[in-house]
């Protein structure tokens, strides 16, 4: 007959059949009253090994692994959670935590005690620990158990940020020692027990992580949705599509797409507080005496040039166009009204010193000795999942600079290269926009402006001296004084080009979600899912 043709067709049918057989049973999500709340996120590092996961990716632990302290969704203050009371010693080298009684772990792994705190901390001491605050946690000399519900952290140096680190904004996730003894690392990888109002129910690698509600949570938290799922969706347009088609009920969307979603009836839920700031950082600001990395030819080592660059940027237009008007002005990078050292004068002075004024910018440049076209610089741009505006801002910046006679070249790199540049102080050539997530301003200075810190942005002797005084001071008024001194200094010196503070914004389907309050400052930004209210 026609054997070859038949065998060919048969082979085809076998191929088709085998692909069908290997698929799972169909299940098509629809946007109706649902027990399972689906959140389409930009993705996170999928792993249960929290000591290796950066703060923003702790989103995946927020529902089921708790922390010693809470971040209040409305006030942003640190309040009690697994710890009822906490206080530092007078020299701030020891921090005591009185632990809550009657907190059960999931899956029957007993009650929460001090042993679990020691155990959870011990992960940060492992050689491969890369959590955001791993460096901080490794400063702990000893975690002393006084009794089952009383634990003391002793540090090598005094520290004033322990409450931040031990809170929901930090990364010390409390896991069960009993589970570890029984099941080891495998148990943690496969089915970690926590104390939250949701319980870990599983992961689909590359796709999602799911949780299910727990009855009788120790604090009485009663999440409205029986099941919760975080989907990993890297493409923004796919997240929008999922939200619109009903496959997802909450979606993390970039500002560009928010308009589309809003047009189609979705609603925005904003975090109570700003969570990220965007600033254009300037390379080469190494003003420590004798710093070999300092090069005087870098044009913006001249304060006039820095001011000119600031005045060349039309912040209002930038905010309205690239960021759809969603943001508030930053006066000093890293400072919010609730930060230590906030100075209300900045708002008054900002327009005069930093405001959009191309004519004045050109004049300043001329004074500094740069005629039109004589100043050339490189703008480095990069994108990260969830932060796609870098290159747009860079291009807009190029256009603004061109208007005042600064020639710029844009180089799109990946984040790691830019970071290597400022870590090694080789980035004097360039400026770069960066979006940084909120951290206490003391931490911000240590990380970015302290000469012995890792990142070497704008640094000089004054900042070093004042920072040391600030971090070692335990009296509130003294601390405020030092904090303000540094912040005022950064303001007056035009240390960088501050742009905006952004809140975390997610889009929700109002047919499914009726309300949600979350601070944004907690690790993971979109947190407190137990507070999501169903639509009426």
């Amino acid at each position: 007959m026609r054997p070859r043709f038949i065998s060919f067709v048969l082979g085809l049918l076998v191929a088709l059949a085998s692909t069908l057989v290997t698929t799972q049973t169909p299940g098509f999500a629809q946007a109706t009253k649902t027990d399972r709340l689906v959140f389409a996120s930009a993705g996170f590092s999928e792993s249960n090994r929290f000591w290796n996961v950066a703060r923003p990716d702790h989103l995946q632990y927020d529902p089921f692994l708790e922390t010693l302290l809470e971040v209040d969704p409305k006030s942003g203050k640190y309040t009690s959670r697994l710890a009822e009371k906490w206080y530092p010693s007078s020299d701030y080298k020891e921090w005591t935590f009185i632990l809550r009684k009657g907190v059960p772990f999931h899956f029957g792994f007993g009650q929460f005690t001090a042993k679990d705190v020691v155990h959870s901390h011990s992960f940060m001491m492992r050689p491969e620990a890369t959590a955001t605050l791993a460096g901080f946690w490794r400063q702990v000399e000893e975690v002393k158990i006084v009794n089952d519900h009383h634990v003391v952290f002793r540090f090598k140096q005094p520290t004033t940020v322990m409450d931040y680190a031990a809170s929901r904004a930090g990364d010390l996730r409390i896991v069960s020692k009993v589970q570890w003894d029984k099941e080891g690392l495998d148990g943690l990888d496969k089915r970690p027990a926590g104390t939250g109002s949701y319980r870990y129910s599983g992961r689909q690698p590359g796709l999602s992580i799911s949780f299910e509600r727990v009855d009788n949570h120790w604090r009485g938290e009663k999440p409205a949705f029986k099941e919760l799922e975080f989907r990993v969706v890297r493409e923004e347009s796919t997240r929008l599509a999922m939200l619109l088609s009903g496959e997802a009920h909450i979606a993390d969307l970039p500002r560009e797409l928010q308009k589309d979603a809003l047009k189609r009836g979705m609603k925005i839920y904003s975090s109570s507080f700003p969570v990220d700031w965007m600033t254009i950082y300037l390379g080469g600001m190494y003003f420590m005496p004798g710093d070999k990395a300092f090069k005087a030819e870098v044009p913006w080592t001249n304060k006039k040039v820095r001011q000119a660059m600031n005045m060349a940027v039309n912040r209002k237009e930038l905010l309205n166009t690239v960021f759809a008007g969603k943001g508030t002005y930053t006066y000093v990078t890293g400072w919010l009204p609730q930060s230590e050292g906030w100075n209300p004068e900045w708002q008054r002075k900002f327009d005069g010193m930093y405001g959009y004024n191309p004519a004045k910018a050109k004049a300043l440049l001329k004074e500094a000795g740069y005629g039109p076209g004589q100043l050339k610089l490189k703008i480095m741009a990069f994108t990260e999942p969830g932060e796609s505006e870098g290159p747009q801002v860079a291009e807009a910046l190029g256009i603004y600079f061109k208007d005042v006679g600064i020639e710029s070249e844009i180089e799109v790199l990946d984040w790691a290269k830019v970071r290597e540049g400022f870590r090694k102080k080789t980035i004097g050539c360039c400026i770069w926009p960066n979006i940084i997530s909120w951290r206490p301003s003391e931490e911000s200075i240590r990380t970015f402006n302290y000469s012995k810190g890792p990142n070497h942005h704008f640094e000089n002797e004054f900042i070093d001296k004042t920072y040391l005084a600030w971090s070692q001071s335990v009296k509130p008024e003294e601390r405020q004084r030092h904090a303000r001194a540094i912040a005022d200094h950064l303001f007056e010196e035009f240390a960088d080009i501050p742009l905006f503070w952004f809140s975390n914004e997610v889009l929700v389907n109002p047919k499914v979600v009726g309300g949600w309050v979350y601070p944004g400052l907690a690790a993971g930004r979109s947190t407190h899912f137990h507070l999501v209210q169903p639509a009426k």
Binding site: F28, S47, T238, E247
Partner: protein, 306 residues
């Protein structure tokens, strides 16, 4: 025949080894993974500690030697981004999804290309021929990522016939498979058509016609067999193309396969995973070529003696 197989197998092994060298070097040039692994707060002591833990403080050739000696045993190290998973484990975890998608895409494109291609050749200059030409051309001209996005918006969002992303039942596979297979329809069809044309025209077939063999017998039995030789070679290339084309399709549709895995790994500078994926892909491709070459040699003895 034995000698031919042995020779080709050895050459394939060599090719795979060179691949490891190329990938290893490229991955290393792409920079320090610690800059991605460690948070902004990390100072020089953290860098040193983690670097030592992963053996990154060793000189490059030592690292390559360690890598190679483990790789031959199938151990590509632990992932730096997916903590707790081994690189090979991740690939094994995600590969079925990609193979499934690629297989389905290939099936779809064959189902469309085979009848049209053959008919176009047989009824040359006819409506089929023009139709085939048009489809082929369209297929080869549309950017696949653009097509994917358009399909998603029309069929998943506006019409709601299919889900937009993810993996589950067969309805999750349709849009990505069409996107992935689209390009191949064109290639397959042109190929089938042209090789069929050649064979139909050949002396050998003229002879069978003179012999009085029924036309369909001529077409199916004799032409297709000989025409099958060239598509066989291209099949290997297409299979490889499908797998790497999956990178774009998986990104658009969030299909959890190796394509998405490697994009994430490259961004996170997770060399271990990048090496594993690229070597596995290349390995599959080289091995497919090997099998095809052997089949080819079997079908056409002249090849063996080249």
């Amino acid at each position: 025949m034995q000698r031919y197989i042995a020779r080709r197998a050895l050459q394939s092994l060599m090719a795979i080894w060179v691949m490891t060298l190329v990938v290893f070097s490229l991955a290393r040039i792409s920079g320090n993974p610690l800059d991605v692994m460690l948070p902004l707060e990390a100072g020089p002591e953290e860098y040193e500690r983690v670097s030592k833990h992963w053996g990154l403080d060793q000189p490059l050739h030592t690292q390559y030697f360690i890598f190679l000696s483990k790789a031959v045993r199938g151990d590509f190290g632990d992932s730096w981004k997916w903590h707790g998973e081994s690189a090979m484990g991740l690939v094994a975890q995600r590969l079925p999804a990609t193979l499934q998608l690629a297989g389905f895409a290939l099936a779809i494109s064959l189902v469309i290309a085979l009848p049209i291609g053959v008919l176009a050749a047989v009824m040359k200059g006819n409506g089929w021929d023009t139709a085939a030409k048009i489809i082929a051309l369209l297929g080869q001209s549309l950017p696949p990522f653009w097509l994917g996005i358009m399909l998603m918006w029309i069929f998943a969002v506006h019409l709601g016939w299919f889900p937009t992303s993810g993996r589950g039942g067969i309805q999750y596979m349709i849009l990505p498979a069409i996107t992935l297979g689209w390009f191949q329809v064109a290639v397959l069809m042109r190929l089938l058509r042209s090789s069929m044309l050649d064979v139909l025209d050949s002396e050998f077939v003229k002879l069978t016609r003179i012999k009085g063999l029924a036309e369909w017998k001529v077409v199916w039995k004799h032409c297709l067999r000989n025409a099958a030789i060239t598509p066989l070679t291209v099949f290997a290339i297409i299979a490889g193309g499908l797998m790497t084309g999956a990178v774009v399709t998986e990104s658009v549709f969030s299909w959890p396969g190796t394509g998405q895995l490697v994009v994430d790994a490259v961004r996170a500078r997770d060399f271990q995973v990048v090496q594993a994926v690229v070597i596995v892909f290349a390995g599959i491709f080289i091995l497919t070529n090997l099998v095809v070459d052997i089949l080819y040699a079997y079908l056409d003895p002249r090849i063996r003696y080249q």
